[in-house]
Subunit: 398 residues, 2 copies
């Protein structure tokens, strides 16, 4: 058995980012840049007003001064002339500062009457002016390669005048659920059978993390069925299997795929839930074998598949972020396996508090769905009294 | 000017959730349930094994006992007979416990030889058995109406045997950017003009929050152009405008839409960035007018549009979540406007630390894109020395 950290490092070392594709700006949200976005213009392109008001010469803008309005410059319509002594031009947020002016008086500090204004507040040079290039200059890198595009980044790429973006292709991830006992949701479920839930949860997980899932037909517990399922995944960037990876006589994935050229890297890790995690490759197709238990499958997805999708997507690939929280109840000593405990996270005046669910059976999907955090316990962690600070992974907003 | 909290309450009071639609389980991720998901079966459907091992009578399972293997029950293939004294059946995780058995010996504690096993560890009644219904029973509510479907919830709905889900229709949100000075990304940008970035950032924001954005053609600063833009939004659940909402003579939205029946609720709020926020309705179409400044537009989207989409989607609609962080630098006293300061969030051994960007100009989109948090400052907040605890809104993972 290897550790969680070792297992993740081995998986990530075997994966490389997908190639680039061109998408429109409107399709860019959530994608990962495969090339930096550089500014194609300077923003603001010229000195512009930061407020609605009056462009003037600061030297003229003493309290009580009366200035003559010689024009106006709405945004998009720069004033063509030059402001001379005693003159002013009405302008608006974003208007280009006319030649001759070096300051902007905000409209609340001016009294307009006919074609003149009276200055009610002195106005130093540069006041209420956004300098050309204050936001960015042409050629500046706006967003680095390898960044995931947020809504704000999409706005910035637009402002940099980019209608197209170069992003990594979404990783294609095929999911093969195996087992004679599982059937698709909605079917009649005879005694001894259960509904296949892992493939659907994993497809949603993959979508959430920016991948493109393919749910393969369920493979029965026979060597040819499993081999046929894996063969259908040959155009994927990663094949996920669920179930069939432990030492049971009916756990056939290793045997079946061994016959089709599976090079196994590891198949057991020191964690709970989720011991039978398998990783290897069939030719150039990486294969991650998740446990069949839905809770184990999800926790392993969080710890290994999430970072794997990040790596395939061109993102930095790291362990899920942890943060400290205070235990509200005691925990018994941990054994040699790293433990991920389903829990409820709350915020109280002293910070985050975390309460484990009393039953941690890895068959309990409802508990997992209701959890808002996982408590991460290292191997051989001692007895922890209530109040101890532990590390948690958030599963949901609180 | 009204407060941020009042403004949000007015907006939310004017909105109602969209109607229901049926989607397949595979389309359900991220959607909001319009009806609860109840279990259509019991899980586990019968008492099942939690481990790979041997079903037996606990009374027989003393150390050194030799039991006869009378069959096996792989998952999906229940054993048809009954276990009598001195007998055992090989089974696997998820296998139905055969009649007569009341305990499961894990395979690591058994020595198998031919058709017998030797028990190496006593095994009390109920050991390694998952009881029927331990996860959920038929008829149980698995996921309540109004919940957003996570990957885990999709798994749970699948396990409850649901191929279809009843969810709220995605809110359709039309975006009308106005201004003579703005042009679409990729166009030649003449002096005095800038690229329209708000519509694209807002479309991404709407997608991120589960809405369906429509970017309307840019409306020039004329009454008929704005009216035509708004008319094109009549099938939307909400119309967003950007720009044109302040008191400038070229800020025509109120005038134009007043002529087409706009009932204005409010149009100024005590916040920075983002004073000119407008809300009202044209007939039954709610209208939220955002400022033209990209930073103001985004911050207003976060504070008002996010909750508005939540309300339209059938979710609980609340202010964005805040959490405490420690200021690394001092802040001067705040004026009468609630302030949202672009900042960088870091974690150090004492908790979260937050550092404001030195320049807070609302024209600086690059600063916004690089921010990982907003510091929320109430009106009239006094001088804050470095080390003060403030409330922040997270913008990105750190």
């Amino acid at each position: 058995m290897i550790s969680v950290t070792e297992a993740r490092a081995k998986i990530l070392a075997a994966l490389t980012p997908t190639g680039p594709e061109t998408v429109s700006l409107a399709q860019g949200f959530g994608r990962v840049l495969a090339a930096p976005v550089s500014a194609r213009l300077t923003q603001p392109p010229a000195d512009v007003s930061a407020m609605d008001g009056f462009a003037l010469r600061a030297a003229d803008a003493h309290q009580g001064a009366v200035l003559r309005i010689i024009g106006e410059a709405p945004a998009g319509h720069p004033f063509p002339g030059t402001i001379g002594p005693g003159e002013t031009v009405r302008l608006f947020t974003g208007s280009v500062i006319p030649a001759g002016a070096d300051s902007v008086l905000i409209q609340e500090d001016a009294t307009a009457e006919g074609d003149t204004i009276t200055v009610n507040e002195a106005c130093p040079p540069g006041k209420n002016i956004r300098r050309a290039g204050q936001d960015f200059a042409a050629g500046d890198t706006l967003i680095p390669s390898g960044a995931r595009l947020t809504a704000r980044a999409i706005g910035l790429a637009a402002a940099g005048n980019h209608p197209w973006l170069t992003v990594h292709r979404r990783p294609r991830i095929a999911i093969l659920a195996t087992g004679d006992e599982i059937l698709l949701p909605g079917e009649a479920i005879p005694p001894g059978s259960i509904v296949s839930s892992n493939a659907h949860a994993l497809a949603a997980f993959i979508t959430e993390h920016g991948g493109e899932p393919t749910i393969l037909p369920i493979a029965a517990d026979t060597l040819p069925a499993i081999a046929a399922g894996a063969a259908a995944a040959q155009n994927a960037d990663l094949l996920i299997t669920t179930g069939g990876a432990s030492v049971g006589a009916y756990d056939l994935i290793q045997e079946s795929l061994g016959q089709t050229g599976l090079a196994l890297d590891f198949w057991k890790i020191a964690m709970r839930p989720g011991k039978p995690l398998m990783f290897g490759a069939i030719g150039t197709l990486p294969l991650l074998g998740l446990p069949g238990d839905p809770v184990s499958a999800y926790v392993c997805a969080l710890l290994f598949l999430g970072p794997a999708i990040a790596r395939l997507s061109g993102l930095p690939a790291t362990a899920p972020a942890t943060e400290p929280a205070r235990l509200t109840t005691a925990l018994k000593p941990n054994d040699q396996r790293e433990d991920y405990i389903r829990a409820t996270l709350t915020r109280d005046p002293t910070g985050l508090a975390v309460t484990p669910f009393p039953i941690q059976d890895s068959g309990m999907l409802k508990t997992l769905a209701n959890a808002t955090a996982l408590i991460q316990r290292p191997p051989h962690d001692p007895d922890l009294p209530a109040g101890t600070q532990v590390q948690i992974i958030r599963l949901a907003d609180i």
